[in-house]
């Protein structure tokens, strides 16, 4: 996981900047860490961490919303509460304090939080299984803020299925809270709720999702004010610094909206020889976030005098303009909830297309801003959620399709038929022929599984929302044998067979499709399961971008050596069958 770029790098705040993961940085002040033997209270964020609910630095309304949600979790109405928001927005602190209040105990004893120890793939499942009996007298709020390594696909799948089981379970479970600091940067491996959990989990009736925003200046001022008051006494860190200077400094950084960083920065500043420094050093050049930039492009900014300034701001601060361009495309229709004239949409699309053609996203982004500024706003409230561009997900699905098509051509169909024809024509008819009773009757061929459309079924993604029905009994897709595609099965058979016959270079085209013997089956089961997990992952998230695939290819060579000892694995590896699964494990 990428290290947070906006943490002030200063020796005095080393506990903040030396942590390697986002999630660890999250609410250092309030974490119920066992490994700290003695609390070190010379850090203000520890020293002044809230001890009661009213002290939590957050909009009281939001706080109340979270409290109500926690109540619903405790009485079993809901099973999972998701809190998402930027770093330092008091998410975890709020949960900690509210849990104490709701369970009528002390804050630190009311919460159990997940901590990764070994980093093994199934560690989270095991932990979650163990924790589910913390009900009744030993009721605890289960807080997950540190995630297992979800950038590894296998771990991500295990994580999702663990959450799914939890949500669908009919037995009572303790309240589960998932608190996630969203990072929306795909290059560094972004992490958002949408990429972490598939939509049908998010829309499940037992799941509640509350978004926490940056903390407004008003509430920060209050919390920071308390710190200032306590530290301004003789012997305190702010002793001897004029109140005016302190206020000037706080004003300069209050826009961060990150209570942790503000208090930490204040402390650091106070130590710098007590001189008046309202240095740039503390005002972090916030690389603009993706959705924030999107907002600026679609709606402009009231703060800036003109669109030019806003644009300049966005174009210099946001670094992945191609991604921003796609995001604008994915969300432009939300302006005025899509009620603006189609001609305007036509214009915007034309501009985006031009930008794509001349490969200059800055040009299209700028001109799109001007188009939007000409559409008067109707003042309606946005209904839909902002979407991350789906383009990357589509690309990765297309790649999987292409692999299946080329495997089909090579191992099952006639290699002379172009992949385009296989996809457009054969892919639709051939499975129907093979699946038909009459064909099986005439040929005497039995297939273990159904043949599915080559390259995957084409269906509108609206179906996605109906999918929970399939999982009604908490069954995971991986266990469902019918999901296996017989083509995939045959391809694996052929790949194995080809390897056995590697001396014989001919004949793979004329080879009849054979039924496999049982030993082969046993040998394959592991592989098949791995492939199934892979194939069934329709919700493969945006993080699995092309880049990662390339990386996998590169790493293949390294992995190869370590697997040479096992002849079976070696055999499969060389065929590229289990490449992904195993490579990932090694990484």
């Amino acid at each position: 996981m990428k290290r947070k770029r906006n943490v002030v790098k200063d020796a005095n705040t080393s506990d903040v900047s030396d942590d390697l993961s986002d999630e660890v940085i999250e609410d250092v002040a309030s974490r119920p860490k066992v490994r700290q033997l003695e609390p070190i209270l010379d850090q203000w964020i520890d020293k002044y961490s809230p001890q009661s609910v009213p002290q939590v630095c957050m909009n009281p309304q939001k706080l109340k919303q979270i409290q109500q949600a926690l109540n619903r979790l405790v009485n079993g109405e809901k099973r999972l509460l998701i809190l998402s928001g930027p770093a330092g927005s008091s998410k975890s602190t709020a949960v900690l304090q509210l849990a104490g209040q709701v369970l009528e105990g002390s804050a630190s004893e009311s919460v159990i939080s997940y901590e990764e120890v070994s980093g093994a793939e199934g560690e989270f499942d095991d932990w979650l299984q163990g924790i589910r009996y913390r009900i009744g007298n030993s009721l605890r709020v289960v807080l997950v803020e540190e995630l297992p390594n979800v950038f590894h696909k296998g771990t991500l799948n295990r994580f999702r299925s663990a959450i799914l089981q939890w949500v669908c379970d009919t037995r009572p479970v303790p309240p589960l809270v998932l608190s996630l600091t969203e990072v929306d940067d795909i290059d560094g491996g972004g992490l958002t709720i949408d990429s972490l959990l598939p939509r049908w989990i998010l829309s499940h009736h037992a799941v509640e999702w509350i978004k926490v925003n940056k903390i407004a200046a008003k509430f920060i001022r209050k919390s920071v004010g308390e710190v200032v008051a306590k530290e301004s006494i003789r012997g305190g860190g702010l002793w001897g610094i004029g109140r005016e200077n302190i206020n000037t400094f706080i004003d300069s950084i209050i826009d961060l909206g990150d209570i942790r960083a503000i208090i930490a920065n204040l402390q650091t500043w106070s130590r710098l020889g007590k001189q008046v420094v309202t240095d740039e050093m503390f005002r972090r050049e916030n690389g603009l976030e993706l959705f924030h930039s999107l907002g600026k492009i679609m709606y402009g900014s009231i703060k800036d005098e003109s669109d030019e300034i806003t644009l300049q701001h966005v174009l210099t601060l946001y670094n992945d303009l191609l991604l921003l361009e796609s995001t604008v495309f994915e969300n432009y229709q939300m302006y005025n909830n899509g009620t603006f004239p189609i001609e305007a949409a036509q214009g915007i699309l034309r501009l985006l297309g031009d930008g794509d053609i001349i490969r200059m996203p800055e040009a299209s982004i700028s001109s799109v801003r001007h188009s939007f500024s000409r559409i008067p706003r109707d003042g309606s409230i946005r209904r839909d959620r902002i979407r991350f561009p789906r383009q990357y997900k589509v690309m990765s699905r297309a790649r999987q399709s292409a692999i299946q098509i080329s495997d089909y051509r090579r191992f099952i169909g006639n290699i002379r038929v172009s992949s385009c024809d296989v996809n457009l024509v054969d892919g639709f008819f051939v499975p129907q022929i093979y699946n038909s009773f009459r064909y099986k009757y005439l040929t005497g061929k039995r297939s273990k599984y159904r043949y599915r459309r080559i390259g995957g079924d084409i269906r509108l993604s609206g179906d996605e929302d109906t999918r929970p029905l399939m999982f009604g009994d908490g069954e995971t897709q991986e266990e469902d044998g019918d999901q296996m595609d017989h083509f995939t099965w045959e391809i694996i058979q052929k790949k194995l067979k080809e390897n056995e016959d590697s001396d014989d270079n001919e004949g793979e085209l004329s080879d009849p499709i054979e039924d496999s013997d049982s030993t082969m089956e046993a040998k394959l089961t592991g592989t098949l399961e791995a492939m199934l997990t892979d194939d069934s992952d329709d919700d493969s998230d945006i993080n699995q971008t092309m880049k990662e695939h390339n990386d996998n290819d590169k790493k293949l060579d390294d992995t190869y050596d370590s697997l040479l000892s096992d002849s079976d694995l070696d055999l499969l590896m060389s065929q590229g069958i289990i490449r992904q699964t195993y490579t990932e494990k090694v990484i």
Partner: protein, 359 residues
Amino acid sequence: MSLWVDKYRPKTLAQLSYHDRISQNLKALSASGDFPHLLVYGPTGAGKKTRVYATLQEIFGSAVERLKIDVKTFTTSSNRKLEFNVISSPYHLEITPSDMGNNDRVVIQDLLKDVASTEQVDFTSSKVKHRFKVVVINEADCLSRDAQAALRRTMEKYSANTRLILVCNSISNIIPPIKSRTLLVRIPKPTIEEIGDILNMVAKKEQVKFNSNDPQAITSFLNNLAEKSDRNLRRSLLAFETISMQNETIPITNNSGPQLTLDWEIIISGIADAVLKSRSVATLAKLRDAYYELLAHCIPAKIILKTLLFNLIEKLGDSNVVPKLVELASDYDERLSLGQKSIFHLEGFTANAMVALES
């Protein structure tokens, strides 16, 4: 049991059942023992590849049917390994440039150099006297301009011992220097009746049962099938086999029977309906899901665009918007070639079509 479409594929020029003039020309060509570089083009399912293979068979004998597949790896300048399939027989090899992505120029050059530098020596058969090897390039219209430009030099340089056969759907993407260096062979779509005859022949050989014995009714059913399959022989045969596998006896009522539309075509037809029914930004956003789904299944954006246009034209009937739509589609076809994010342009076309329909 192989599929009918493979089982009844003609293997020699003599077996070919339509476009007799073309077959005769190819026969004459192969009888001369040598031939120029060829550019074989025509719509899909018309029989281009079948004719190419039949010609090769005529020249080299049945050995060209002994195909094997090699996976070759090529290391690009950026040190990425690229894998692509090469299909080969002792006398020819066949490549598909779309496997190679942006590196098609280097890969093809490399490969051709390789082929050209190894001279064709065959001591086993005295009959074969040809000293050249044939390279078939599929989907030649997908070759980048770069690769095409490189190809034109290569064609001249190695013409002593290699012959190229370029196969493509349309020559509009082929640069003129290549057209000038090749013999152009156009394979048009077979007529409905020609397909109907072939289906009839297959029906007899496979003893397909119909619920009517009237040959007239059967013929019109099969012709109808051919028409619905867009006069694509491959598609007609597959559709026919699907129908006959799903029905013990094929019901023909009112000269028609069960028909099959491809899954992706149904989605595109749905898009066309939506465009005609409600023209708003909300519809645009909704249609994006459909486009994404198609793209995720490797349905080429250009085919989506073309099919959508034809669907709109068909649904509009005789309307004066049609010329405007065609113009827009051709504009967006070009934009698809130039751009990278095809979804932008597909949605762009949709928006433009909506505006055109509004006015």
